[in-house]
Subunit: 754 residues, 2 copies
Amino acid sequence: MNYLYKFFLILLVFVSCTKKNESIQKENDVTQHPNLILTSKSVLEIKSQLGTIPVFDQTLNKTKEEVDAAIKKGIDVPIPKDMAGGYTHTQHKKNYATMQKAGVLFQLLGDEKYAIYIRDMLLEYAKMFPTLPRHPQKRSYARGKIFWQCLNDSNWLVFTSQAYDCIYSWLPKEQTEYLNKTLFKPFADFLSVETPQYFNRVHNHSTWGNVAVGMIGLVMDDEELVNRALYGLENDNIDPKAKDNDGGFIKDKAGKAGFLANLDSPFSPDGFYTEGPYYQRYAMYPFLIFAEALQNKKPELKIFEYKNGVLIKAVDALLNLTDADGEFFPLNDGQKGMSYYTSSLVSAVDIAYYYGTKKPELLSIAKKQNKVQLDATGLSVAIGLREHKEKSFIKKSMELTDGSRGDEGGVGILRYQKEEETLALVMKYTGQGLSHGHYDKLSFSLYENGNEVIQDYGLSRFVNVEQKNGGGYLKENKTFAKQTIAHNTVIQNETSHFKNNYAIASKNHSEKYLFDVSNPDFQIVSAKEKNAYPGTELHRTMIMVNDDKLSKPFIIDITKVTADKKNNYDLPYYYFGQIISMNFKYQTPKTLSTLGDKSGYQHLWKEGAGMANAENVQFTWLDNKRFYTITTATNKEDEIVFARIGANDPEFNLRKDPTIIIRKKQIKNTIYASIIESHGSYSAVKEVAKNAYSNFSKIEKIIDDVNYSSFKIKFKDGREKILILSNTDSNPKKEHSLNINHKKYNWVGAYYYK
Amino acid sequence: MNYLYKFFLILLVFVSCTKKNESIQKENDVTQHPNLILTSKSVLEIKSQLGTIPVFDQTLNKTKEEVDAAIKKGIDVPIPKDMAGGYTHTQHKKNYATMQKAGVLFQLLGDEKYAIYIRDMLLEYAKMFPTLPRHPQKRSYARGKIFWQCLNDSNWLVFTSQAYDCIYSWLPKEQTEYLNKTLFKPFADFLSVETPQYFNRVHNHSTWGNVAVGMIGLVMDDEELVNRALYGLENDNIDPKAKDNDGGFIKDKAGKAGFLANLDSPFSPDGFYTEGPYYQRYAMYPFLIFAEALQNKKPELKIFEYKNGVLIKAVDALLNLTDADGEFFPLNDGQKGMSYYTSSLVSAVDIAYYYGTKKPELLSIAKKQNKVQLDATGLSVAIGLREHKEKSFIKKSMELTDGSRGDEGGVGILRYQKEEETLALVMKYTGQGLSHGHYDKLSFSLYENGNEVIQDYGLSRFVNVEQKNGGGYLKENKTFAKQTIAHNTVIQNETSHFKNNYAIASKNHSEKYLFDVSNPDFQIVSAKEKNAYPGTELHRTMIMVNDDKLSKPFIIDITKVTADKKNNYDLPYYYFGQIISMNFKYQTPKTLSTLGDKSGYQHLWKEGAGMANAENVQFTWLDNKRFYTITTATNKEDEIVFARIGANDPEFNLRKDPTIIIRKKQIKNTIYASIIESHGSYSAVKEVAKNAYSNFSKIEKIIDDVNYSSFKIKFKDGREKILILSNTDSNPKKEHSLNINHKKYNWVGAYYYK
């Protein structure tokens, strides 16, 4: 195998040195194609390194195999007909992906067969396009021509532009003129002026549209198209009340549009993308690939410096929004399992490395990905790896603000790492996150190593599984996954935050109160939500405490509720696995009914319930061979509910995951105080349960008023700690003094723990 | 680290060469202790190799660390009080384990501190024992003294005998005489003559009892005890109707008892242990360690040749009763996750290697285990590994017969392996399996790689998790896990096989009809059950077909039911994961009720049901990122039920796993015919569903009479296959001829497939 591989590499170099194409000889001429992603200069650089850059060589090798196989199958440009997953859809997707790769191969290997393949396919599209109506499938608010929605048409153009650029100089001028006039200019107009409701938005879909138009504009040197891409259409006549298929408003609040607007608005200064990591991952490719093209052709725009270098920051933010396995936290609509191994992140990591500060931490991610983008950025990564420059990418605790100015809440991530053992707590106090946002202010999820301990449900969809609604969103996404009860946060009166009203939710965001991770043994995040329920203020504080007597940190979870009237409150914890023990009495019903009839409650089976009947409730479960316990301060009137997802789910679309809900009824002000801990393990081989019991005997509220909330935490080893939170002043320099049970506590800053 | 390790090894050798104890100098003297597991001769051999046998050295090193830590803690011999998991229980367990290890260390390292530790601890036990009453916890039918049950007391003596042997010659004679008289002889009598209902049985517990008495008999050269161990008590006065805690009869059917009887009866000639792999794993240690002791002290018994070498065969059988990860198939009472990494299997593999034919395949298992038994057997394994003699242990398809003469049915395992991709189908047609047996004749489970595709529920118990009934069996083990409905086999009229009656079930077994794996592309197992339901015969045939057009084999699953009256039949398939699609109409209820009120049905929630309404039903699900489909021939009157475990489970003891049940109602004779396939995969990173659809359009019954059943299998690629099964003659040489739809089929043997 090794010999074969070396032989192939030598062959590659040989081919690339002998079959050079005249048109790609002139070095450093920016008017000369390729000049979009590959450039004449980078092509020469890459060719000089081929055979010595293992990751690049392997990726190239694999790409060649794929494209050669596709060429062997012949060109197939069918009349558009099918939905996602269907034949014509899949074929057109393959076409643009193969063309883009063939363009790269033509440039790097110089074999004309790749250019011929692209040319012939483009001529087929040019033949078809002028008379092509909108796609026959009518499900989209912005139907495409080749695909059922403009989004996919834009994908086509973003990739095809790159292929076209690679053969532009090789084609006779009359052929480029023909293609420009017959196919590409009309295609760009179709996506923009003819579909303004799609093009002129702030939305990840529109970013693809902007980039598609911009990329082809750059290839054709069409300044008008490039400007349209960057700044949007001046007049779009979009109804400000119009909504898209996901229920999001089409018209931007500020009336902005175009690539730069899409860069301004959904990204916070920290590089957090308001829709959430799953969509950020999807959007990163057009953002970065267009930025790379702009940097190549319009370096005067200094696009990578735009908004203090937000594009590079966004890659860093995205890598930090992953668990120990590199899987993105499924905030808002997020499919679980998507990770930084996806191809758009390969591209993102390479571009961020090359155009950023060549951070060696990015190389360690690239090394795991084990492939690179086939251009100058991938070359530099491959060289970095060849020279073993990589450093571990240690994910640190951090806050990522939301909002274009960073003042619309954010996401707080608290982390712990000791050798292979990690914990990550993610608390969400962002804005709504556009149409893919969920209604879950002040929610959180907890990870241990690569595993979810307390989960965020994510989206309800089997992406690209045709049997499940053609791979599209399922109706349970709206009726359950987006509802507040699907999340680990307080629900008032069994109604979702903002009454599940997108218009209201979009106008609001939570407010950061405190984020302080300066002490690794006491990391704290705290935020307030005043608008989810008018008349009620929610204030959640989560603390990761690394206690030197315990083997792992524990979480303190406090939610203070201040209301102007009596309400019912529910706080669910979505755990996994099997219940081991509880210290309160409960009943299990003979038949199962739903927990409610709306706001997602209709999807929960009530499996049991009991009154707390004590000042503390403990709940221990076993999952992934680990023991976990939630210890929570209760009143005798509090109810504990066991529920499981899956009711009113006629298509079996939902996962049947369990939850425990702490219910406080008919009360105005109240406070939830819990400890969440991972404390033990089970070995099925040794049949030994290690530390199967909680380390705590209780957590107890001592004081809870407007200004301060304080708690006593009792460990089983007899120790006691006092926690005091300042509820109104988060100033780290503020001096506090408080009498509790005739003892005076003095401290500086928003919290006391001793 | 490496240097430190080498330094330590040199130190070990040095210590062992200088601090030699006089009493262990005399080579090859069998009257000289140790002579039980370690012998004077093997001690010298081991010492000559120390430092050159990495696996042995590592194990020794780790053992020393453990024992040194225990010695540091001091001796603690508390008055017995607690149940399993409690303090006194755990401490006494630690004591015998540490003593056994300390004995080995004394012999191999020569440091007297280990001998002193054992001596002092034994003196503590000797002080306590004479006045010790039976254990205060009264849950066992055979209460111990140190522990709540004699089983654990026997564990204590089996391990402690080894420790005692290691210091026997080092102790002054008056001290051995004192210990023999005060502690060990009374202990042996207590376990045997004083507790005949425990000692004089054929049962894994009694094996421990026999071995305990035999081991200490060998140490003390007490022939009477050794004979008692080998042949049992002559008179036991046990009531033949008496039962143990698990509901098993105490008195053996044939009235036999003792070690040899326990070797005769529960083991089949193939080495299959009738209780199932989980208990075989537990029983292997006393069987093999006593065999090793007998071989050392009474080689004239030729114990390893007993019953055609069944002990060595049993190790091979047990290793073959595992999935791709080495986890035992959970037939009968089996805790999932238990695997050949457990310490009793380390011992078993080493003993089987040394006393068997030194099979290099065993070395590959030992290599995975990465530790050895610290005696001559472990030495030989460590030397084999040092010399890289290991070969892969390829698990092949095989039948393991049940019954002491191998004529009481068996277990058929069909396997497929291509590189890393494996399938394993396990069909059970054994006898009852004593008190740990489940009521599931002709059931099966299916594995893909290390994962369960169609599961056997296993036991209902959290072994050694104190919160769950002290780690003991849960009541749901009887009410659900042992019932037929918990298994993938036919249930008649919602009643378990043999009416769940242990006495009746114990008198019966299924009958093998056919097991033929000579053709790797068409492996077949077939068996009949005539007694589970009087008046009804069940005949199941399972075939693993490796079709060259498909990427993986599929399973054909046929169950022919012949009855003397109309009945209802249920065939459940316990799948995992999420439902993707079905091709029939069904309803899901607004509230969930149980599927029935007895025989385990009371533990199933009915999540949905529909009439087949067609001649074929297909059901596709997604689990572990793989797509699976069951295609089954139906009548319009057949009902399909979706159910989930978890009803009537007030302690949340059960796993909430799903099942699909094919229900045929009010019919006399009928036949189930299904295809089970693993056909596709899903990537959450690429968001690609590969082969998400079944390869089959249908399976269709053509003929079903007394003599023949035949089926047409239609592939989606248009191909058709005819399967014909001879129902009454499994002779491979028999010539058959049959007309089906005016076409004549001629073939030889019990089946036709073309």
